[in-house]
Amino acid sequence: MARQFAIEGASVLAVEKGPDILNGASKGNSAILHTGFDAPAGSIEHSCIVEGYQEYLNIRDKLGLPLLTTGALVTAWTEDEESKLEGILEKALVNGVHDAELLSARSIRKREPELSPRLRAGISIPREYVIDPWTAPFSYMLQALENGAELQCNCEVLSGKFDGSLWTVKTTQGIRKAKVVINCGGLYGDLLDEKLIGQKAFSIRPRKGQFVVYDKSASQLIGSIVLPVPNEITKGVVVCRTAFGNLLVGPTAEEQDSRDDASVLDATLRSLCRQGESIVPALAGQPITATFAGIRPATEFKDYCIRTYKEKHYISVGGIRSTGLSAALGIAKYVFDDYQVFDQKHFPSTPCIWPTVQQIAEHTTRDWQTEGNEGIVCHCELVTQREIKQALTGKLAAGSLAGLKRRTRATMGRCQGFYCSARLSELTKGFFELPIASDISQKGSGNE
């Protein structure tokens, strides 16, 4: 959104209550670029996915964003699931995914020999791809900033008033004024609506998804994104490669009250492993690199909740669930169209600036392959010292270990910091509000 509006020439201020962008709902997802083949036809979600998908492909070269052209397979493992394939295929065709194709178990297993022989049939969706879930939104924000937008982190909105022409918004970092307010509050979107306009069009119903990430060696097992036959609530547990060369199994779909409790549960993780192994038997015995959980801001509605309050100069963008990564650029366009009712005149900044960020996806040319990289710090993910220094400075510098991880992948690999924590703590000294470790006092004992 910030990117779209900044490029169109609006003066944009993005406020984020967390210490970094991508700190809430956006940080845990399966990183698939969806075609929208199974989205409800005629929904806002569907049109935003289609638009967002195309826009990603249009701009990814200019921003240097990665794409794993994996293709996806919707797989049926029971008679019941098999009977639903026909309907899914029809829906895909209605949704404009004309290359979707019903395949026999045999021809699928020819392509993916590691899939369990229990497979009954499936549908191929050739243009579902895997992308990098961090670098993409990170680049969008960076481009917004390069084109004049302003970002304020650790800045929570407390209240706001609209006087008929101008919004006065009180935040933890002071008062800011704006002509139009757009609520992209994610997991807190409904609360923000209440704070600002005293009403809400939706209620967030946090839905947690746990994931298991397998070692890079497991990614050789499967080429395609393996999707289950979805049910009413969720797209179900996916097995797919990540842009970082791992293999991911998840997510679960667990309704919960908490908007920020992204804890994992051992029994659930084990069950995810079993589900993964039932789809790809060779996963048994593969080492696990990471576990995590994300919380999707689901609502009582199936579709996205994008609503424009013309008289209040306010747009609320809520209920953006797991498809949000694919749809983001589409949502931005959709909202910008809606925004025209406010009759604001903007003139696109010329020339538009296209920043590129360091590549962290596995299949791209990485810094360690180039001269002057200052040596590798994180061995598992081959993150160089130069990359770490770059992530700590500049317009969108990392302000926390979590932020540094998302920008560089340092400590995200199989050893989870066994080898590199110490060097990282030294390299990041003075950069983080919450340091990795504190100095042992000179007296030696370090006792308080």
Partner: protein, 422 residues
């Protein structure tokens, strides 16, 4: 770059820890011309570099040393013998005919070696790989991370952590905490007794750290930093322990990422490449040594294993180590057996096992999954080829000597079994 213009060497050693440095030093001592150690850290020495406490070096230098000075001595010994130790050099992939792809500060590079020794060592099992419940705050780490913070960077990541596990390394974690003024609040062990020698209980008591056996870490709590852990006690009750960190200790696994994605045959049980009794991998140009063959051993053990491996590599360079035309595969046939190394035995054409001069040192190493008392045997069909009675705990070395096999014709498959005593 074509392979002909690539840098060549006689032996490349991947990993400059105790076993790698020992192998390199021994190879030079035996007169091998170019021996290169490829070390990805900025200093050689391996894990002892950040074990700031004693005792190290008894076997090697007949002195009691701290980890860092031991590491320094090993590294100096290698260099003074003429070993080319290359720091900040990461091997990115290994290929047939000893072709190695490297990353250095200058970017991508290559080296070709006549023989390669894999000595990449080990690391501890992480919180993620243990599938532990709870939130994911900062302050959750392994002993390795803690020690490198404490000893290499003089930093402390927390004040009052819990220590999970009671292997030898768990007590090393305890000493590291002590060194930096960190006061662990407890050691948590799932089993009825500690995994390390019982004498170490005294160390914990002296330092005032309680050990809770038959207790299981149930959940980690805390949003940004650790606020506590939930522990399930022997009676099935859940207790909350307030703490600001969690140290996962032990459950060592091989740092074998390179091998997993290489052409070498891989053993799931050890997490290491498959080796024969000479430490040779499925590609005879590759050898594995130290903890790369059987996690986990002490630095001293790895050091002497490195020397033995160097002697095999030297023999191989001289064409004195026969290519294996035939091999016997050893299958652990009992779930009590965690792993057995070597996984295969190279057999001469006459069906007899190939042994070299130092055959007395050759054995099958076994680890068990839980405390076991009984008879360990190596069988071919119904015939018992070798056996011994054992009474061991997990993470302790059990050895079955190969010498007794030298007069037997070995079939293609051998089975290891344990018959438990009542």
């Amino acid at each position: 770059m074509s392979s002909s213009t690539r840098e060549q060497c006689d032996v490349a050693i991947i990993g400059g820890g105790p076993s790698g440095l020992a192998a390199a030093t021994e190879l030079k001592r035996l007169g091998v011309d170019s021996v290169v150690v490829l070390e990805r850290e900025c200093e050689a020495g391996g894990i002892p570099r950040h074990c700031g406490h004693s005792p190290f070096g008894l076997r090697e230098f007949r002195r009691i040393l701290s980890g860092p000075s031991y590491a320094g001595k090993l590294s100096t010994a290698a260099k003074s013998q003429g070993v080319d130790v290359r720091l900040n050099t990461t091997v990115v992939s290994i290929g047939e005919s000893g072709q190695l792809e490297l990353s250095t500060v200058d970017g991508l590079n290559y080296i070709n070696a006549r023989k390669v020794i894999l000595s990449t060592g080990i690391r501890e099992t992480t919180r993620a790989a243990r599938l532990v419940s709870g939130q994911r705050p900062m302050g959750v780490m392994t002993t390795g991370a803690l020690q490198s913070l404490v000893y290499l960077e003089h930093k402390k990541p927390f004040k009052n952590p819990v220590i999970i596990g009671s292997e030898l390394v768990s007590f090393s974690a305890l000493l590291s905490c002590r060194h930096s003024g960190i006061r662990p609040i407890a050691i948590i062990e799932q089993n009825p007794r500690i995994t390390a020698h019982l004498g170490l209980k005294l160390l914990a008591r002296l330092l005032g750290v309680p050990i809770y056996c038959r207790s299981r870490l149930q959940e980690i709590m805390g949003r940004r930093t650790v606020s506590g852990v939930k522990i399930e006690t022997a009676s099935g009750k859940t207790n909350v322990l307030e703490c600001d960190g969690v140290v996962f200790t032990g459950k060592f696994i091989a740092e074998s990422s390179l091998m997993r994605k290489s052409h070498l045959q891989f053993d799931q049980a050890t997490g290491n490449p498959v080796v024969d009794q000479f430490g040779r991998c499925s590609d005879a140009d590759y050898f594995a040594t130290g903890n790369m063959t059987h996690p986990v051993e002490t630095a001293g053990f790895c050091w002497s294993h490195g020397i033995e491996t160097a002697q095999q590599v030297y023999a191989a360079l001289a064409g004195k180590l026969d290519k294996f035309n035939r091999r016997s595969v050893i299958y652990p046939n009992n779930s009590l057996i965690k792993y057995a190394v070597p996984q295969v035995l190279a057999i001469a054409d006459n069906g007899h096992i190939q042994v070299e001069n130092r055959s007395d040192s050759q054995s099958i190493q076994i680890r068990v999954n839980k405390p076991v008392k009984g008879r360990l045997s190596l069988k071919s069909g119904l015939e018992t080829l070798a056996e011994k009675s054992i009474n061991v705990l997990p993470e302790r070395r059990v050895e079955l000597e190969l010498r007794t096999l030298s007069d037997k014709r070995l079939p293609e498959t051998l089975y290891l079994d344990i018959e438990e005593a009542d």
